[in-house]
């Protein structure tokens, strides 16, 4: 039996659905799908400037697994750039940390232990899970 994959820890999912190339007619079928784990790997290494070893710890995966995820996302982005593909995000095998969204003032926030389940700004209790 195949071993079950460990969930990749993601602190924040992307706040948008994807990217599309400018100046091209919509290319049907030309689409690259990036998982949240791949997005997070790129974020940690190339935006937050962590080493691969540090990023692997944050994502709760081994160093070789992290390297595989990171190489995968870089190849996908290169393909999308060169071939003019649309990039879409998908959840994949990810454990996403909890964020909430206020339906009144539209801010996103966390709720620390012992704090009321309400918007920190407008005190509205009409809140949803953001992801």
């Amino acid at each position: 039996m195949a071993r079950t994959k460990k969930l990749r820890q993601i602190q924040m999912a992307p706040q948008f659905c994807g990217f599309s190339p400018d100046g091209l007619l919509k290319n049907k079928g030309k689409e690259v799908s990036i998982t949240f784990a791949e997005y997070e790997a790129l974020n940690l290494c190339d935006y937050e400037l962590m080493t691969q070893a540090e990023a692997a710890v944050v994502m709760n995966v081994s160093r070789p697994t992290f390297t595989r995820i990171y190489e995968s996302v870089r190849r996908k982005i290169a393909k999308a750039f060169i071939e003019g593909c649309t990039i879409t995000f998908e959840t994949g095998n990810a454990d996403i940390a909890e964020w909430y969204k206020c339906n009144s003032c539209r801010i996103s926030f966390t709720i620390p232990q012992g704090k009321a389940h309400e918007c920190p700004f407008c005190k509205n209790t009409d809140i949803n899970h953001a992801q």
């Binding site: 993601i10 602190q11 940390a97 539209r106 926030f109 966390t110 620390p112 700004f121």
Partner: protein, 103 residues
């Protein structure tokens, strides 16, 4: 309540910074004393690991909430462990609009 707001400039009409750890300034607002203090971010070009090591300063000052447009993964992990609330707003918002709400 004490909150830290990530800002582009050290003034109250400054816009909220795009990323907490990469912001140029922090404003620490105390709603009880109605005072604010500006701190320059010396780690704005460093990695998020290095920034987190300097984030103890906020805990020592008794910060209960942090405001930015976005937070990095490492600082999210750190603030969660310290029970600090994180609030993400749109980038065109000014610091004084947030302080007026908290007051």
């Amino acid at each position: 309540m004490k909150i830290v707001i990530a800002l582009n400039e050290n003034k109250l009409d400054s816009h909220i910074a795009l990323q907490f750890g990469k912001s140029q300034w922090f404003c620490i607002y105390d709603s009880v004393a109605d005072t604010n203090e500006y701190i320059q971010n010396p780690m704005q070009h460093s990695s998020s690991i290095d920034f987190c090591e300097s984030a103890d300063l906020f805990i020592e000052k008794g910060i209960q909430a942090a405001v930015a447009t976005r937070f990095g993964s490492k600082i999210i992990e750190y603030f969660r462990s310290q029970n600090v609330q994180m609030i993400m707003t749109e980038p065109n918002r000014q610091a004084n609009s947030i302080i007026n709400i908290i007051k």
